[in-house]
Symmetry: C2
Subunit: 589 residues, 2 copies
C-alpha cells in the first residue's frame, strides 16, 4: 500500500511518484489549496492538494485529524523560501494526485496540546503513542535492545530464557503470587530477577549468559518503579569482577556511541567508602562538582557540643559542604535547606557565609562562629577551599544521618545553583560492605549469593562488619544503571553467608536447598550483573519517568487504565484455583 514511509521522502525522490499511508497530522485550506501534513512512524511529510483535481481536492477538504489515509502524488522541491530545515522532509512536498480515506476518526477524546493527565494518556495510550515524541522513544528503545543483543551475541553470550512461573526469590521485595490449579493451595511467584536461574546456568556450563527479561516486584511505586520492569541480565563463568566490569563498560560505551554519538569517558572506579565520604551517596552524581569535606578532627575540642559530640563519637560524623556563591542565600532559603536535611534526620543545619577567607571569625558571617576560634574557622575555610561569596554548610550527627543528609543537600544545592556539568558522568562503585546491620541482625547489602573479597568462610563469619563484597554498581549521572557481583561458588562459603544472615541450616535447605545441592557438583566461579533497561533508556532519552519509555505502563497504583487491569475474576475460576476473596475487614492486625 505504500512506496515510502512519509518521514523518508526527501530530495532523493524529487520528480518521483510516491504512494504514502499514514494519519492526518493536520489538514488546512490556505489560499484555496489544502495542505495536508501526513504522519507515519518515520515522520511527517507535507502533501498539497489543489482544485485542479476536483475529486481529490474535495476529499482532502473533508479530512479531519487522525483520519487514516492513502496518498498518491508527485514529489517536488519546495521553493527556497519554504524549506524547513528542522524536518527530514522539509526540502520537498508531495503534489497530491489521489487520496483515499482508509479509516475515519472521530474527534480525539483528549487534546494533547493541553495539559493532559497521565491517567488520560494511559487510558488512550494508543493515541498517546502516535505522538512523534512517544513513537520516537519506543523506536529508540527497540534500537537499544537490538544493539545490546548484537553486542552480547557477538561477544559469545547465550540468550537463555528462564521461567516466569517460579519459586519465591530472595531479593527482598514483595513477590507477585500465582495460585496453582494443579497443586491447590500452592503458589508460583513471579521472579524479582532470574538470579538463581542464571547461577544454575553457570553450574550447567553455559559459560556466558544473557537475557533481556521482565522482572516483577509488588512494591509501592515511584517515578522510576513499575510492577514489571526489564533487566539486561548477564552472568559469566571464570571471569573476575574486573573482567565483567570491563566487558559491560564496553557494552555501555558502544551503546552510547552508536545511539547518541557520545564518547563516554573511561569509567573511574570508586570504593563505596570513598563515595559515601566524598559524595554522601553510593551512586554519586559526578556531574555535580560539590563534595563533602570532613572536619571532625578540627572540632573535637570545641565547647559547642553539637559539633564536638559527634566529632568524638566513632559512629559520628561532622562534614561540611561548600557551595560556591552560596553567601547570597537568604535566611528563608537556608531555612528551606534546614527543613530539607530534616527529612534525612538532621536536627539542624549550621552555616557559615564567607566574606573574606583567612580572616578568622571576622571574615565570616555565621551563627556558630562564636563557638569557634579564628584558627578553626580558617582551617575549615581553607580545607573547603572556600572564597568570598561562598557558604559552608555543616552536618554533625551520626555517620548515617550526616552522610544521607549532606549527600542529599549536595544534590539539591548542585541543582539550585546550576552547577552540574553538561557531560555524562559514569563510574563504577566497588568494595561494598557485605552486610549492613539493623535491628541487631545482618542484612545482605546486595543479595545472599554475593562473594566476599579475599576471605575464607571462617573469616567471613568472624568479621561480618568489615567484610567487603566483590560487588560493583555502574552509576551514571547519579542513577544506578546496574549492579552485580562475583557469586559464591563454594558450598561452605554459601553456608557461612547464610549463617551470618541468621538463616538457619534448616531454612537455607528449605529455601535454597537446590542451590546448596548444586554447589556440590563442580560449580565454576561465576559473576554477573543486571542493568535496569527502562532506566537506562530513560536516561539516554532524557525522560522524566520510566513510564515514558514503556509502551503500556501501569499507574502508581499498579493499574492499567486502558485495559482496566486488574479486573474481576469469576467465582468458577477461583474455585478451580482453590482460593477465595477475603473481605478486607477480616485483615489481621
Amino acid at each position: 500500500m505504500r512506496s515510502h514511509y512519509c518521514g523518508n521522502v526527501t530530495e532523493a525522490q524529487d520528480g518521483q511518484e510516491v504512494t504514502l499511508v499514514g494519519w492526518v497530522n493536520r489538514a488546512r485550506n490556505m489560499g484555496g489549496v489544502v495542505f495536508l501534513d501526513l504522519r507515519d512512524r518515520e515522520g511527517i511529510v507535507q502533501v498539497v492538494y489543489d482544485p485542479d483535481l476536483p475529486e481529490a481536492f474535495a476529499t482532502a477538504s473533508s479530512l479531519r485529524s487522525e483520519f487514516c489515509v492513502q496518498v498518491k502524488g508527485l514529489v517536488r522541491l519546495r521553493p527556497d523560501s519554504q524549506i524547513n530545515k528542522n524536518m527530514n522532509t522539509g526540502a520537498i512536498e508531495v503534489l497530491g494526485k489521489e487520496l483515499t480515506i482508509i479509516n475515519r476518526s472521530e474527534p480525539l477524546p483528549i487534546d494533547f496540546n493541553t495539559d493532559v493527565s497521565e491517567e488520560q494518556r494511559l487510558k488512550y495510550r494508543y493515541l498517546d503513542l502516535r505522538r512523534p515524541e512517544m513513537t520516537n522513544k519506543l523506536k529508540f528503545r527497540a534500537k537499544v535492545t537490538s544493539e545490546v543483543r548484537r553486542f552480547l551475541d557477538d561477544s559469545g553470550f547465550m540468550d537463555v530464557e528462564t521461567p516466569i512461573l517460579t519459586a519465591a526469590t530472595p531479593e527482598g521485595a514483595r513477590d507477585y503470587l500465582v495460585p496453582s490449579r494443579t497443586h491447590k493451595g500452592q503458589f508460583f511467584a513471579l521472579p524479582q530477577s532470574p538470579q538463581l536461574f542464571k547461577q544454575l546456568l553457570m553450574m550447567s556450563g553455559m559459560d556466558k549468559y544473557y537475557q533481556i527479561v521482565k522482572c516483577f516486584r509488588d512494591e509501592d511505586l515511584r517515578a522510576d518503579r513499575q510492577p514489571e520492569f526489564t533487566q539486561i541480565d548477564i552472568e559469566t563463568s571464570f571471569m573476575s569482577a574486573e573482567q565483567v566490569m570491563a566487558e559491560t563498560e564496553t557494552m555501555i560505551r558502544t551503546l552510547f556511541k552508536k545511539m547518541l554519538n557520545v564518547d563516554l569517558p573511561k569509567f573511574p572506579h570508586m570504593t563505596y567508602a570513598e563515595a559515601m565520604r566524598r559524595f554522601g551517596s553510593d551512586k554519586p552524581d559526578l556531574r555535580n562538582p560539590l563534595e563533602l569535606v570532613d572536619v571532625a578532627d578540627l572540632l573535637k575540642e570545641v565547647e559547642f557540643k553539637v559539633f564536638s559530640a559527634p566529632a568524638n563519637d566513632p559512629e559520628g560524623r561532622v562534614a561540611t559542604l561548600r557551595v560556591p556563591g552560596g553567601a547570597k542565600l537568604s535566611r528563608k532559603q537556608i531555612d528551606e535547606y534546614t527543613k530539607y536535611v530534616g527529612i534525612y534526620g538532621a536536627k539542624g543545619l549550621a552555616w557559615m557565609k564567607i566574606n573574606e577567607a583567612g580572616n578568622g571569625i571576622e571574615g565570616v558571617q555565621s551563627p556558630i562562629a562564636k563557638f569557634l576560634s579564628d584558627d578553626i574557622v580558617n582551617a575549615i575555610v581553607e580545607r573547603n577551599g572556600a572564597e568570598a561569596g561562598d557558604i559552608i554548610l555543616f552536618g554533625a550527627d551520626s555517620d548515617k544521618v550526616v552522610t544521607d543528609a549532606m549527600g542529599a543537600l549536595r544534590l539539591k544545592a548542585g541543582e539550585d545553583f546550576e552547577l552540574l556539568s553538561g557531560e555524562w558522568a559514569p563510574l563504577w562503585v566497588v568494595d561494598f560492605p557485605m552486610f549492613e546491620k539493623a535491628d541487631g541482625r545482618y542484612y545482605a547489602l546486595h543479595h545472599p549469593f554475593t562473594a566476599p573479597t579475599n576471605m575464607t568462610p571462617a573469616e567471613l563469619e568472624a568479621n561480618p562488619d568489615t567484610a567487603l563484597s566483590d560487588a560493583y554498581d555502574m552509576v551514571l549521572n547519579g542513577c544506578e544503571l546496574g549492579g552485580g557481583s562475583v557469586r559464591i561458588h563454594q558450598a561452605d562459603m554459601q553456608a557461612a553467608a547464610f549463617r551470618v544472615l541468621g538463616i538457619s541450616d534448616e531454612e537455607a535447605q528449605e529455601k535454597f536447598g537446590f542451590l546448596l545441592d548444586a554447589l556440590k557438583y563442580g560449580t565454576p566461579p561465576h559473576a554477573g550483573l543486571a542493568f535496569g533497561l527502562d532506566r537506562l533508556i530513560m536516561l539516554m532519552v532524557g525522560a522524566e519517568s520510566i513510564r515514558e519509555v514503556m509502551a503500556f505502563p501501569k499507574t502508581t497504583t499498579a493499574a492499567c487504565p486502558l485495559t482496566n487491569a486488574p479486573g474481576t475474576a469469576n467465582d468458577e475460576q477461583l474455585v478451580e484455583l482453590a482460593i477465595a476473596r477475603m473481605p478486607q475487614q477480616e485483615k489481621q492486625d
Copy 2:
C-alpha cells in the same frame, strides 16, 4: 582464566601453550598416563598428563567426573592412528603442564548413561544441561532467536514489550491469575498472547511490530504444551495476508538456510477445505504421500447402509485411503487400526485388499465386497490408483468423524509403512471458515478479531456458516508452526463478529470496550501472526518434546522439581492479597 574454549582447540593451535577451564568429562589412567577429557560449552578436548611432571600427574590421577579444573598445556598433533574425525578437536591433544582443581564434585546423584526419569533430569537440570546434547540444543535456540531478531530488525520491525500483568485475554484457554494487592479482590491475568496489545500498537502507528515473548496458558499439559511458552509475535499495518505470508516465509526460509543449510521449497498454499478433503487435517504432513479419496458418489445406490447412508447425507462423508503394500496387514493389525480410528469416533473400518486391479470382486479380498458390484469395486480401485498388494481402507460416517479418523489413520499408516519422505514439507493453509458451530452456537476458529474475506458486516451476519476468514497457518511436517490473520480494523465489522459469536453489545463493551473505542480513531488495516518458538526449535533440532529445548521446563503437572515451584505462601502474604486458601472439599459441584 582461559585462552581458548576446549571445543575450539584445533590444529591451528599446534605448538601453542593454551589455558583451558572446564569439567572432567572422563579421566582414566591408561598405560601409566592420565587421559583427561575436558569439557566446556564448546566441546571436549583430550589432555594428557604423564608422570614426568609428578605434581600435575598426581593431581590428574585424583580427578573425578565433573570436577571443575583449569589446565595449562601445550597443543600437539595426534599421531595419525589416533585422529578422531568425529570431534572438532580430534586431530590434536594437549600435553598437560599444570592442573588446578577449581571446584570438586561429589559423585553425581544420577547416571545419565542409564535410563533416567524426566523428573530426575528436571530436578538436577543443572547437571542434565551439562550434557553436550542439551547444551547444544540451548546454543541452537539462542542462535535461532538471534537470527530471527536480526531478520526482523533489519526488515523494519520494532521490538516492543507488552505487559505480563494484564487483563484476561480472549484466547479461550484458562488464564493464570495474579491477585492484586493494591486493588484487593481483583486479579491480573498473565497473557495467553499479546494479541490485543499488538493490535493497539498498530493503532498507535508502530507499523511493524515484533516481540519474542512469553505466553501463558493454564491447561492440562501434553508433550508439546507448557504453562509458559514463547512466541515470535508479529504484527504489521497496511499489509495484505499475501504480503505477511511472503515476509514471514522468507524469515523461516532464511532461518533454515542459516541454521541447517536447508533450502526449503517455496511454500505451497492450500485451502482449509482441500487440506481436510485430501489429508483429513488442517495441518497436513506433506512428507506423507497418502491421500484420502472420496467415493461417496460411487456408493449412493448400494444396499450396504453403512456406506449408502453417509453417501446420501449432506453432512456425511465416505472416503478411502490406499496404503501401498498394505495387503500384507494381518487380521490383528487391521483390528488395531480399527481400534485406532475408534478413538476418533469411527464405528468400524472396512477394508479391501487388492489381489488384481480391474477384476472386480474377484480381484479383491474384502468382507464388504459382497455388498458391491464389480463396477463399483473397479471404480474404487481405479480412483485410488490401487495395485496388487495394496489395501484400501474405508471411512463412512459424518464428515467430521471420517475426516478426523481417516486423517489420523493416514498419519499412522504413513509411519507404520515408513512412507515419509526425508524432505522438509512446509505449506500455508488458508481460507479457513470464520466460525465453527457447536452446541448450537458459533465459535471463532481463530479469534474474534479475525477479518472475514471479502464480506461486509451485514453479509457476515447473514452467512456465518460460509464466511471464510483472511487467516493463514504455517505448517511444517504436520505441525502448526504459526498462524495469523488479517484483523478487523473497523468498528462495525468487529461488532458484527461479536454478534455472530453471541457476545452481546454490553459484554463486548465490558470486555473489549477499549478495543472497540480504539477502532473509532483511524485504525489502520493490520495483519500479523505468531510462531511457536519452542515448537519451531523442537522441529529444527529433531527433539521429541518442547521440554527438550527449554532450559527449565515444568513437568506435566506444571511443577518444577528443581525449585519445588509452586510452593507454599505464608498467611501474611495471603492476607495482604486479600485471598484465602479454600479447603478442597469446599469445592462447588
